[in-house]
């Protein structure tokens, strides 16, 4: 049996872990087990390794042949490492990504912390969407006075966004 990571050397370290109630087995050679730090029961490496191995298999289905314009990372690179090359890769490989993230996480949308410097922009973005919804509704309901007011507020927000960026 060969090592699951390098696929070259014979596996000598056999690990099992229960993830989501399922037993997962990983077979590693001496060198890879040392490098991945999986012999350390307190490290995070084992979980990352186990999750990572599954991840690269998920990606197999789509985005074959894609290459990141920012960093040159290819689909094959991802398959090999289970890692991306740069932040832009998340958009390059977006098609395959959704499927993979679905199996891995609780949702597909970040609901946690937003960096303080981006928070303003994000709030403005949400406010803008809300106003536009209200505007469409006002127009549909033929409430033209309200619509005019909403248009002004949207214009103000747009100006704010321009000066901020």
């Amino acid at each position: 049996m060969n090592c699951d990571v390098c696929k070259q050397k014979p596996a000598t370290v056999f690990l099992t872990q229960i993830v989501d109630g399922k037993m997962q087995k990983v077979n590693l050679c001496e060198a890879c087990s040392k490098e991945k730090g999986v012999t350390d029961p307190t490290g995070f490496a084992l979980a990352d390794l186990l999750l990572g191995l599954g991840a690269s298999q998920e990606m197999e289905k789509s985005t074959v042949g894609a290459r990141c314009p920012a960093c040159g990372f290819s689909h094959a690179d991802f398959k090999k490492t289970g890692r991306f090359g740069c932040a832009a890769c998340y958009d390059t490989f977006a098609d395959g990504l959704e499927n993979m993230l679905k199996g891995m996480h609780k949702g597909l949308e970040h609901r946690g912390k937003v960096p303080p410097r981006l928070l303003k922009a994000k709030l403005r973005d949400e406010e803008m969407k809300k106003l536009q919804r209200e505007l469409r509704k006002a127009v549909a309901d033929e409430k033209y006075e309200a619509a005019a007011e909403l248009r002004d507020r949207i214009r103000n927000l747009e100006n704010e966004a321009h000066t901020a960026s």
Partner: protein, 373 residues
């Protein structure tokens, strides 16, 4: 602050005075962050890694939390120094393998450690003694906000913080507690607990060898998912589950004391005997036996004053800590001999284990005979 000061003093979490520290050894929260416009470390050229490093390191050093920090380039640390930091959980094994282009910044209390150019540009962690996930999160969250003002983090409107590995995307947060669960292991309930925990989307890890036994009866409980939930929600869920496990472990301890007092005393007594009289001991065996000694202290079989000694041995008998205590390079065999000798020395004054109230199945205890030896 020079590195040997860090290496020769133990961190706050090793003192084991946090809440619930009888069962929860330590709480850790780690955040992964990357800079916009640079490839992730694993895909970056050396010059790119160096420029990221020179951009991040001064920003980290200027944090108020890092006023008394030790900041060091990876290439300036010896292999042994790195290994000691790994055993203290201040850097990861992966980071220990890095050279030029990486660095680590740690505060004096060793509650904060920030790795630069590990798998992500930034891996920041807070570690506290006992069950203190919330305070560990607060600590690292503040550091993150301060750094976020100075640095341009890669952040995606839908996916949140972008990380090299998609398993970390979103919050970039991995929160974990290291738990000591000897009674659940002894009473063969630990697998049930592990399965229950997995059902609520958390991961439990011991290191499973051939059997189902974890080394030193130590298990790490952590969140598996990082996307789709708020940080606070993840921490709260984890905290609740840990409190449940503490309850189960305490129940298992009480049941063992009531229903299997002889088995319990036998396990602790054998551990005591082997630790005190052996002349060669591998690190795995040491961990497993020390676990019973720690349980013995928790249950009052040993005087409370011995707690520190036992806790310290968990870390001091690790390979790099052993090697650090001596000038010559040790072979595995010599290391096992040194380990046994350090343990014998430390436990020389430890009295034989005795249940707090006399065990019912035993003839009247003669504590004097035992204590003299």
């Amino acid at each position: 602050m020079p590195i040997h000061t860090i290496l020769s003093t133990s961190g706050e979490w090793l003192r084991g005075d946090g809440p619930q520290s009888h069962i929860v050894v330590s709480s850790r929260v780690r955040l992964a962050r990357n800079l916009n416009g640079f490839p992730f470390p694993g895909h970056a050229k050396k010059t790119e890694r160096v420029s990221v490093l020179e951009c991040i390191k001064p920003a980290v050093e200027s944090l108020p939390e890092m006023a008394d920090a030790h900041s060091v380039y990876s290439q300036d640390l010896s292999a042994l120094e790195k290994q000691v930091l790994v055993e203290r959980h201040l850097i990861s094994r992966e980071h220990a393998a890095k050279g030029l282009g990486s660095a680590v910044v740690m505060n004096k209390k060793q509650t904060l450690s920030i790795m630069i150019n590990e798998e992500d540009h930034l891996r920041m962690q807070a570690i506290r003694s006992g069950l203190q996930l919330k305070s560990a999160f607060k600590l690292i969250d503040k550091v993150d906000s301060e750094l976020g003002d100075k640095l341009d983090f890669a952040f995606h409107n839908q996916y949140g913080f972008l990380t090299a590995c998609p398993t970390n995307v979103g919050t970039g947060m991995r929160a974990s507690a290291m738990m000591h669960l000897p009674a659940l292991v002894l009473s063969e309930q630990v697998n049930q607990v592990i399965q229950a925990v997995n059902k609520v989307g958390l991961a439990v890890r011991g290191l499973y060898g051939e059997g189902t036994e974890a080394m030193g009866n130590l298990f790490q409980i952590s969140n598996q998912t990082t996307l789709g939930e708020k940080e606070e929600e993840i921490i709260t869920r984890l905290n609740k589950v840990i409190e449940q496990i503490i309850l189960h472990e305490n129940n298992a301890r009480a049941t063992l004391q009531q229903k299997k007092p002889v088995t319990l005393l036998d396990n602790i007594g054998r551990a005591y005997g082997i630790l005190r009289y052996s002349h060669s001991m591998a690190s795995k065996e040491a961990l497993n036996l020390l676990s019973y000694l720690k349980l013995g202290v928790d249950l009052g079989f040993f005087p409370e004053e011995c707690r520190m000694q036992v806790d310290e041995l968990f870390i001091e008998t690790q390979p790099a800590h052993l090697q650090k205590s001596t000038a010559q390079k040790l072979q595995a065999e010599e290391r096992d001999a040194l380990r046994a000798s350090i343990i014998r020395g430390r436990l020389e004054k430890l009295p034989a284990p005795a249940p707090k109230s006399a065990a019912p199945q035993e003839p009247p205890a003669k504590p004097d005979d035992k204590a003299k030896d």
